[in-house]
């Protein structure tokens, strides 16, 4: 009986071999030889089934990388009590040295009068600073098919958005949303445009509309920017709720959301007048 081609030629690849040798898993984890890697790539460029499997494995690996970063315990050497005593001592020494440096720099230079300097202390970021927003990026996609009216309006709006004309983009995105209310990206960028042009109430409405459309590529960003909009209106409890939802989605904004939550807690501890 003749051996299948895949066994005679180490580089040859077919679906049977992909399954038998767990090729997809090895490819994603970087364990394939160069020959097999090239062969598998050539195979999945032609095979829809194997490419679909690869897409799932890649998504799985990405998600597991995020999970690993949050779940993994500290390396063993960091878990020992003596390590933490040493670390605490090092921090104390560094603090003393820094304090002494500050004190030395505060001493007046002979012959030069200097105004009284306030004592250096940690600065708590204000609510206004926490509510500052950077424009979410937008990358134009040029497709050759004929766009519908809503898409045309959206694209016109985003030309204004990319120029920094957020009032102009907001106006056109409002029209786009009236033409087609089912597009999360329209509501998201409308919310961002309103926020960037100082209209927090309209921003809240638009971002809530994006969120109501359910799972989409804009869900996490919408929660995050909605939190910013609430901060702009000094509605801290509502902002916290949106940041917690952002964290729960465990996406690219998780770290930013956690940082903001910590800053809000720090602000509250100072006894500042916030709800």
């Amino acid at each position: 009986m003749t051996e299948p081609t895949a066994h005679r030629d180490p580089g040859a690849m077919d679906c049977a071999r992909v399954v038998r040798d767990e090729v997809t898993e090895q490819y994603v984890s970087g364990r394939l030889s160069e020959v097999d890697q090239a062969a598998f790539e050539q195979h999945y460029f032609q095979c829809a089934r194997c490419f679909e499997e690869l897409r799932v494995y890649r998504l799985l690996r990405t998600e597991l990388e995020h999970t690993a970063a949050s779940e993994r315990p500290l390396p063993r050497r960091f878990r020992r009590p003596w390590f933490w005593s040493l670390a605490a001592a090092a921090v104390l020494v560094a603090s003393v040295l820094t304090w002494r440096q500050v004190r030395i720099s505060e001493l007046p230079t002979p012959g030069v009068s200097s105004p009284a300097q306030p004592t250096e202390q940690a600065r708590v970021v204000s609510l206004e600073e926490l509510s500052a927003v950077t424009p979410p990026p937008y990358q134009a996609v040029t497709l050759r098919s004929t766009p519908d009216a809503a898409t045309r309006r959206f694209r016109e709006a985003m030309v204004h958005y990319q120029r920094g004309d957020y009032t102009g983009s907001a106006q056109r995105l409002t029209e786009a949303a009236k033409l087609d209310a089912s597009q999360p990206h329209t509501h998201f960028y409308l919310g961002a445009s309103h926020l960037l042009s100082g209209n927090a109430d309209e921003a809240i409405n638009a971002l809530q509309a994006a969120i109501k459309l359910g799972e989409s590529g804009y869900l996490e960003e919408s929660h995050f920017y909605l939190a910013k909009a609430f901060l702009r209106k000094r509605q801290v409890d509502e902002a916290r709720a949106e940041l917690l939802k952002t964290v729960a989605l465990k996406g690219d904004r998780e770290r930013d959301a956690r940082t903001l939550l910590e800053a809000l807690d720090a602000l509250r501890r100072t006894g500042a007048e916030i709800r």
């Binding site: 898993e25 490819y27 994603v28 984890s29 970087g30 364990r31 890697q37 090239a38 790539e41 050539q42 999945y44 460029f45 032609q46 095979c47 829809a48 490419f51 690869l54 897409r55 799932v56 494995y57 890649r58 998504l59 799985l60 690996r61 990405t62 998600e63 597991l64 990388e65 995020h66 999970t67 690993a68 990358q139 134009a140 996609v141 040029t142 497709l143 050759r144 098919s145 990206h185 799972e215 989409s216 590529g217 869900l219 989605l249 465990k250 996406g251």
Partner: protein
């Protein structure tokens, strides 16, 4: 979409004759594959996005000029072009085609494909969070740390067969959850 010899030749001919819809089909069919190859070889998602544009631009240009010697082997041509440009990037860490606006196809990314991938990523996230922690750990050690079943077995004090079975069960569970959640 599987690419038969006839389908490849037909798509090539349509592109050669200036059919814009055929170029879009090419982007839809191969954009994701080129991205997968670029990520696997560069481990750099940002660079990979740029490389996708470069590769597809080079392919479209070649097809428009009728430069495909074997029209029935379109997939092989695209994968070969991708490998060359990606390997060249890895060697020199520069793109063959720097920031040129590839008008009129200035961005070859398919917006609807990206959104669909983001939605699937959310579903994978939910599926992973519902796995048993041991199964999740086995998948992590396999796909993230690149350990073999034997290495995982000795680390977790299991037999390699048990590791293989649990890994296979966990992956099937994720795929089943994905299929379930994607139903309308």
């Amino acid at each position: 979409m599987d690419f038969s010899a006839d389908a490849s030749a037909a798509l090539f001919e349509r592109i050669r004759l200036g059919d814009a819809a055929a170029e879009e089909e090419l982007v839809q069919s191969f954009g994701g594959r080129v991205f997968a190859m670029a990520v696997a070889r560069t481990r750099d998602r940002e660079a990979s996005r740029d490389l996708v544009q470069d590769v597809l631009w080079a392919v479209v240009q070649a097809l428009r000029g009728g430069q495909l010697r074997a029209p029935d082997k379109l997939a092989a041509f695209v994968s070969g072009t991708a490998r060359n440009l990606i390997n060249n990037y890895c060697r020199t860490r520069t793109r063959a085609l720097p920031d040129v606006h590839h008008a009129p196809v200035s961005s070859m990314a398919d917006a609807s494909q990206m959104v669909e991938d983001q939605q699937r990523a959310l579903r994978v996230r939910r599926a992973v969070s519902e796995l048993e922690s041991d199964d999740r750990r086995i998948l992590m050690l396999t796909l993230v740390d690149g350990l073999t079943p034997g290495e995982i077995a000795s680390r977790l004090r299991l037999s390699p067969d048990v590791v293989r079975q649990r890994k296979s069960r966990a992956i099937k569970k994720v795929i089943a959850m994905l299929a379930e959640r994607s139903r309308p």
